[in-house]
Symmetry: C2
Subunit: 382 residues, 2 copies
């Protein structure tokens, strides 16, 4: 499914093509997150116009609402939501743990119970009890029908001690094998091939990360993901983990860091380390709070807060070098007015800009990699 | 500015063209409401795609936020919001009275004070005190720069007694004359002609409505509006008032009923009575609550509630005969999922549908009027 088209000379950065039934994906690529069968505020034409190549769906959310059986009745998520391009679904593992722990922290129950066979958890919508096992997570993802699906794993906290991380990692590895077995039974549920990626865990422990990289790499996965609570949220830890596992994971499979993309700069760091795919909910979430990306020449912080007084009467677009719909049609002043008035249009125009900005940056990175000047491009942004 | 292109044989219905600096408007026409410099949830391309010919802005809201001076800095509302088609602004009178009374009813102050010179009121945003006089309302509307602007009037409650209505009407008539004087001083503020419409008031009193129709008709207004608390909200009262004033108001000026469009059927009633323009916030507001218009052949009620259980797994569009973006791309089931998940996309897709539905119906009415079969079309919808 994966073809490397160019290996950069000066770094691990590479370009490639991921072939899926719903189209080819040029890598390295940022994947916008569409948690509940929609990338928040955008329609499918918006996604095409900003050159979205693949979107993410969340198994946890889609299982709870509208449910995988309804989606399957439609012939899968593509048809249900009307998006005919590639889709990736996570396994639900991250949400089961993170939303469960959030509820516990708030004293709202959230009785997430892990055992060696799977996880029992409560819905964040209505408190109802659900259970995911590796087999169940794969069955649900078959019904949802994404082009790329993920193994069910235990996402361990950063500060987990070695003893607990070892225990969780053994479970994750056992579950990885069970996911492969389940996947092989039915990997063309809707008549087209779905690809299964494994996930490397091991928190902040070098030995365990290396062991996990070896274990996951040796299994029959179509791609290799690097997961964990800190991946993406703590870029120093992320870089360290990537440097540990890179010598081990096979170069010919796509590499995916889960949760990377809080800042445009983060994308440079992972691409430099040979990562082909990444996703993050942050660019769309901060857009809805008025934090809008700009080129470092416009603002060194690489973003503006549209609600700042200085933009009140500013007739310029967010970023004069940007070709997105928002920057081509609207001023900072108008956007500030929409945000202050809490008009829904504000959130969509901001989302269009932030995603276009990142996807356009990825296009620039791919060109730079092909021309062996990726590090130069990176330097010009730092 | 107004050209009648056809007078129907069997009713007062007629077709016409309103010529403005920002384009021609084919009448009769429904005008979507864009209170705060945006038709809620939609962008300007959305508006063009559903064949919007003219949109409404609210002087009261735009005065409070972002303020007419900022809009004027941009060269008017068209440039500020990026909409290059025709715009109409109301005078703020309706909001000053209705929002003030709402605040008073809630015991939140809302000290709306009317005197013969104007109205002092408090902002619904921050409680600050503002004052509109006829002159001020016109000056603000000049700065906002809509193609059609409205005289400042006192919108009297339906149940106002004859004594109070007489007093308010005298004020409205005096203000109408003052608006004309002020308008003539500067009716090309941004370099293009703005047209001024007068408003007939008189609540539910036949004598006063007739008197008002005569008074407003005799002034040098470009168009004649019929206002009042009940107009649009109470269709029996609206029809009665139209029947009273129709023999009096000049046929060669455009007729505008303010606030009509709660139901598709209401549009038939006013078009039959020779009305050329109408606006209503309801079609977009109910869209955001999941109430979606359908042809009477689909549902006799002429709408569905997308949240009803029967639509849970329905693969059909809202209305299979509809050609809007929403109906061409999405099922009722997917829309229900978006509404249940409170995804913003739901509100935009629903708004696109409801407005497209009404604007498409208006196109059908115009064709029917031209072919002298308006009453037949009306019958087929009743």
């Amino acid at each position: 499914m994966f073809e490397i088209t160019h290996q950069e000379k000066n770094s691990l950065a590479r370009t490639g093509i991921l072939h899926t039934e719903h189209g080819d994906i040029e890598t390295p690529i940022f994947m916008p997150v569409g948690t509940q069968a929609t990338v928040k505020t955008l329609d499918n034409e918006d996604l095409k116009k900003i050159n979205t190549q693949i979107i993410l769906g969340n198994t946890y959310h889609l299982h709870l609402r509208p449910g995988e059986n309804l989606i399957a009745e439609f012939g899968g998520l593509h048809k249900f939501m009307g998006w005919d391009g590639p889709i990736l679904t996570d396994s639900g593992g991250f949400q089961v743990f993170s939303l469960g722990l959030q509820k516990e922290a708030k004293g709202q129950g959230g009785l997430t119970k892990i055992d060696d066979d799977g996880v029992t958890f409560q819905s964040h919508i209505d408190g109802s009890t659900h259970r995911f096992t590796p087999e169940e997570a794969i069955k649900i993802q078959h019904k949802i029908g994404a082009d790329i699906i993920m193994a069910f794993d235990e996402c361990t906290p950063d500060d987990a001690d070695e003893k607990y991380t070892r225990q969780a990692l053994d479970r994750t590895h056992d579950w990885a094998e069970r996911c492969i077995v389940e996947h092989k039974k039915n990997n063309c549920y809707h008549g087209y091939k779905q690809f299964l990626f494994g996930i490397i865990q091991g928190a902040g422990h070098k030995k365990l990360r290396e062991e996990s990289a070896k274990f996951i790499s040796d299994l029959d996965f179509d791609g290799i993901a690097i997961g964990g609570e800190s991946v993406g949220y703590n870029m120093e830890a992320t870089k360290k983990i990537l440097d540990w596992v890179n010598p081990i994971i096979p170069k010919d499979k796509p590499h995916y860091t889960m949760g990377v993309g809080h800042s445009p700069l983060d994308l440079f760091e992972v691409v430099e380390r040979g990562v082909d795919m990444f996703d993050c909910v942050s660019p769309t979430r901060v857009a809805r709070n008025g934090r809008l990306f700009v080129h470092p020449k416009i603002d060194k912080k690489m973003h503006i807060n549209i609600l700042n007084t200085e933009h009140r009467a500013d007739k310029n677009p967010i970023d004069p070098t940007c070709t997105c719909f928002t920057c081509q049609n609207h001023s900072r002043s108008y956007l500030q007015h929409l945000f202050k008035s809490q008009e829904m249009l504000a959130y969509r125009l901001a989302t269009i800009h932030n995603l276009h900005f990142l996807l356009n940056l990825m296009q620039g990175m791919r060109t730079a990699v092909k021309e062996d000047r990726f590090l130069e491009l990176k330097k010009s942004w730092m």
